[in-house]
C-alpha cells in the first residue's frame, strides 16, 4: 500500500516535470529515467543479491549500441525492435559471462566482472566498422509505436513523445521489479545474500538464483542504455568504461542500497547534484568523491535511509 502510493507520487512528479520545468530541464530528466531503469536492475544484483559488479556499464553500453547499430547501420528505426534486440543481446552476453562470473562471490566476482567490462570496452574500440571506434555512433531518431514524429524538432521530440515513452517504460520496469523483489525468487535471492550456505540447505539452488538475477540486471541495464543513447544522441565507448560502472554503484548507494526506490532517488539526486556542482566548480569530481565517502561512512542506507530515519524520529 505504502509502496503503491510512493510509486504513484514518483510517477506524478515525473509527469508534472515537463509542465513545471522548461524543455532544457526536461531533456535532463530523460537520462535520469534511463539511469533509473538500468539501476533498478543493478540494484537487484547488488542490493538484493549482495553481488557487487564493477562491469555493468558493459550492459548499459550493449543497450546503447544495440539501439545505435540498429538505427544507424541496419536502418531499423522502430524503438520497440531496438529494445527487443538490446534485451536479447544483453541477456545473451549476461547469460554467457554469468556462468563464469558467478562461480565467485565477494571481491572476486567484482574483479571478474571488471575484467569482462574491460574486454568489452576494448572490443568497442577495436571493431570500428561496427562500433565507430573511439567516437562511437550517433543514434538517429527512432520511431515510437510506428510513429516517426518527423515533423518535430529534436528537442520537441525528446521532451514530447520520447519523454512519455521513457516514463512509461520506467513505470513498467519498476512494477515488474517490485513484483520480482517480493516474489519467492526475491526472497531466495535475499536469503542467499544474508547467508549463502544456510540458503543452499533450505533447498535453494543459490547459483541459479543469482544467475537469473545477473541476467535480469543485464537486461535492465540494456533497456536503460538504449533510452540513454537516444536521449544523448550517441553511443560511445566511455559508456562501458569501469569508472562508469563505479558511478552506477555510486548512484545506487546514494539513493539507498537494496531499497525499491533507491535507484530512482539516486538517479534524481545524482543528476541534480552533479549539475549543481558542475555549474559552480570545475572540481566537481572531488566534491562527488567526498560526498560518496560521507554517505558510505555516515549513511550507508543512502538518502532513503536518512528519510526513513527522520520519519521514525518524528513519529516518536
Amino acid at each position: 500500500m505504502k509502496t503503491t502510493l510512493a510509486f504513484l507520487a514518483v510517477l506524478a512528479a515525473f509527469a508534472a516535470a515537463p509542465f513545471a520545468l522548461g524543455p532544457y530541464y526536461t531533456t535532463l530528466i530523460i537520462p535520469i529515467l534511463a539511469y533509473a531503469i538500468a539501476l533498478i536492475g543493478l540494484n537487484l544484483l547488488f542490493g538484493y543479491g549482495g553481488l557487487l559488479s564493477f562491469g555493468h556499464a558493459m550492459f548499459l553500453a550493449i543497450g546503447a549500441y544495440a539501439s545505435a547499430v540498429m538505427g544507424a547501420k541496419l536502418g531499423v528505426r522502430s524503438f520497440e525492435a531496438q529494445l527487443i534486440v538490446a534485451m536479447l543481446a544483453s541477456g545473451t552476453v549476461a547469460g554467457l559471462i554469468g556462468l563464469l562470473c558467478l562461480r565467485y562471490t565477494t571481491i572476486f566476482f567484482s574483479m571478474l566482472t571488471l575484467a569482462f567490462g574491460m574486454i568489452f570496452h576494448s572490443f568497442l574500440f577495436k571493431f570500428y566498422d561496427l562500433t565507430g571506434g573511439e567516437s562511437g555512433i550517433s543514434v538517429p531518431r527512432p520511431s515510437l509505436f510506428g510513429a516517426s514524429h518527423a515533423g518535430l524538432s529534436k528537442t520537441a521530440f525528446l521532451v514530447g513523445p520520447f519523454y512519455w515513452y521513457a516514463l512509461g517504460l520506467f513505470a513498467v520496469m519498476f512494477l515488474v521489479m517490485a513484483l520480482v523483489v517480493a516474489s519467492p525468487f526475491g526472497l531466495a535471492l535475499k536469503a542467499a545474500r544474508d547467508n549463502e550456505r544456510k540458503t543452499a540447505f533450505l533447498g535453494v539452488p543459490v547459483f541459479w538464483v543469482r544467475y537469473v538475477a545477473f541476467v535480469l540486471s543485464g537486461i535492465y541495464c540494456a533497456v536503460g542504455g538504449a533510452v540513454l543513447a537516444v536521449s544523448i544522441g550517441a553511443a560511445d565507448p566511455e559508456l562501458s568504461f569501469w569508472t562508469q560502472s563505479g558511478n552506477m554503484i555510486f548512484i545506487i548507494i546514494l539513493g539507498g542500497l537494496g531499497q525499491l526506490f533507491g535507484p530512482v532517488v539516486g538517479a534524481v539526486s545524482f543528476t541534480l547534484l552533479q549539475d549543481a556542482l558542475m555549474a559552480n566548480t570545475q572540481y566537481w569530481r572531488f566534491a562527488l568523491g567526498a560526498i560518496l565517502a560521507l554517505i558510505i561512512i555516515f549513511a550507508p542506507r543512502g538518502i532513503l535511509g536518512l528519510i526513513t530515519r527522520a520519519l521514525d524520529w518524528r513519529r516518536r
Binding site: Y104, T106, I107, M118, F286, G289
Partner: protein
C-alpha cells in the same frame, strides 16, 4: 634485434607494474581491501617526482642524482597513505563492497587534486634518462636508467620477501593476514599493522609512479589507465600474492609490448583475455588462495 628491444621494453614495463601491484597485493593480503586508489597513487608519485626533480635541478642539484631523488620523492608522496587509511579505517569491519567503494571515492577526489595542483596539461621531464647514458651489450644498446629501474624493482621484490618471510614484523603481518582477530588476541596491534601496511603499499605505488616519470609524461589519464593493467596483474597472479604480482607483471608487461607492436588495438583485450583464461583454469589466479 627488434625482439630484444621489445623484451627490454616489456621488462621495464613489468618492473613498474610490479612495484604498483605489489602495493595492491600487500594491502589486499593483509586487509582484504582492493585498493582502487593504486592508480591515483601511481599518478601522484609521477607528478610529485617531476615537481621535486624540477625544483632540485633549479637549486643546482646534479642530474646524476635523478634516481635517488625520484625514489625519495616517491617515498615522501606515499605518506598520503596515512590520510587515506585514516578515512578507510571508518569502514573496517563493514561489507567489503563499501571498502571498495570508499577507495573509488578517493579515486574521484584524487582526480581533481591532481588537476588542481598540476593542471590539466600532461607533464614531461625532458630527456633525462640520457644522463645515465646507455649500455652496449653485444650489438644492443640499453638505456642505463631503465636498467636501474628494473634493478630497483628486483631489490624491492627481495626486500619485500625478506620483510614478510624473515622478520618478526613480517610474522605479525602474516598472522594478521591469516586471521586478524586471532592475531589481535595474540597481542598484535592490528590497528598499527593496518596503517603500516597501507602506507607501505601506498609508497610502493608512488615510487613506481616517480620512477616512470623520466620515460613517460604524467597525465590525468594515468590513474584510471593503470588500474586496468594493475588489475590484470593481480587477477592473473592471484589476489594478495606478492609472487603473483611479480609473475603477473611480467606476463602483462610482455603481452602489452607484444600487442602494442603487432596489434595496437588489441592491447587491453589481449591482456584481459589472458585474465579470463587464467581464471577459468585457475580460479584464484596463479598464486592465489581461495576465499576463506
Amino acid at each position: 634485434m627488434a625482439t630484444v628491444d621489445l623484451l627490454f621494453a616489456a621488462l621495464f614495463n613489468a618492473a613498474v607494474l610490479f612495484l604498483v601491484t605489489a602495493g595492491l597485493q600487500l594491502i589486499f593480503g593483509v586487509q582484504r581491501i582492493v585498493n582502487l586508489t593504486a592508480g591515483s597513487l601511481y599518478a601522484l608519485g609521477a607528478y610529485f617526482g617531476a615537481s621535486v626533480f624540477e625544483w632540485f635541478s633549479a637549486q643546482g642539484g646534479s642530474p646524476a642524482l635523478l634516481l635517488p631523488v625520484l625514489i625519495l620523492s616517491g617515498l615522501l608522496a606515499g605518506q598520503v597513505g596515512f590520510v587515506i587509511e585514516r578515512v578507510l579505517r571508518t569502514v573496517y569491519g563493514r561489507d567489503e563492497a563499501f571498502q571498495l567503494l570508499m577507495t573509488f571515492a578517493f579515486v574521484l577526489m584524487f582526480q581533481d587534486v591532481l588537476r588542481y595542483v598540476w593542471g590539466a596539461q600532461p607533464r614531461l621531464l625532458g630527456d633525462l634518462p640520457s644522463v645515465y647514458g646507455t649500455l652496449a651489450v653485444g650489438g644492443f644498446t640499453f638505456p642505463v636508467y631503465n636498467l636501474l629501474v628494473m634493478l630497483s624493482a628486483l631489490v624491492v621484490a627481495g626486500l619485500l620477501y625478506w620483510l614478510i618471510e624473515r622478520t618478526s614484523l613480517g610474522h605479525v603481518v602474516r598472522a594478521t593476514a591469516e586471521n586478524g582477530r586471532m592475531a589481535e588476541a595474540l597481542g598484535a596491534n592490528t590497528r598499527r599493522i593496518n596503517t603500516l601496511v597501507f602506507v607501505l603499499g601506498s609508497m610502493l605505488g608512488t615510487v613506481g609512479g616517480a620512477l616512470v616519470i623520466p620515460t613517460t609524461a604524467a597525465s590525468l589519464e594515468m590513474p584510471i589507465a593503470l588500474i586496468v593493467e594493475a588489475f590484470a596483474v593481480v587477477v592473473i597472479g592471484g589476489l594478495g600474492s606478492i609472487r603473483g604480482a611479480f609473475l603477473g607483471a611480467i606476463i602483462v608487461g610482455v603481452l602489452r609490448a607484444l600487442s602494442l607492436t603487432y596489434f595496437p588495438e588489441l592491447e587491453v583485450m589481449s591482456i584481459y583475455l589472458v585474465v579470463i583464461v587464467v581464471l577459468v583454469v585457475r580460479p584464484y589466479g596463479l598464486f592465489g588462495k581461495a576465499e576463506a
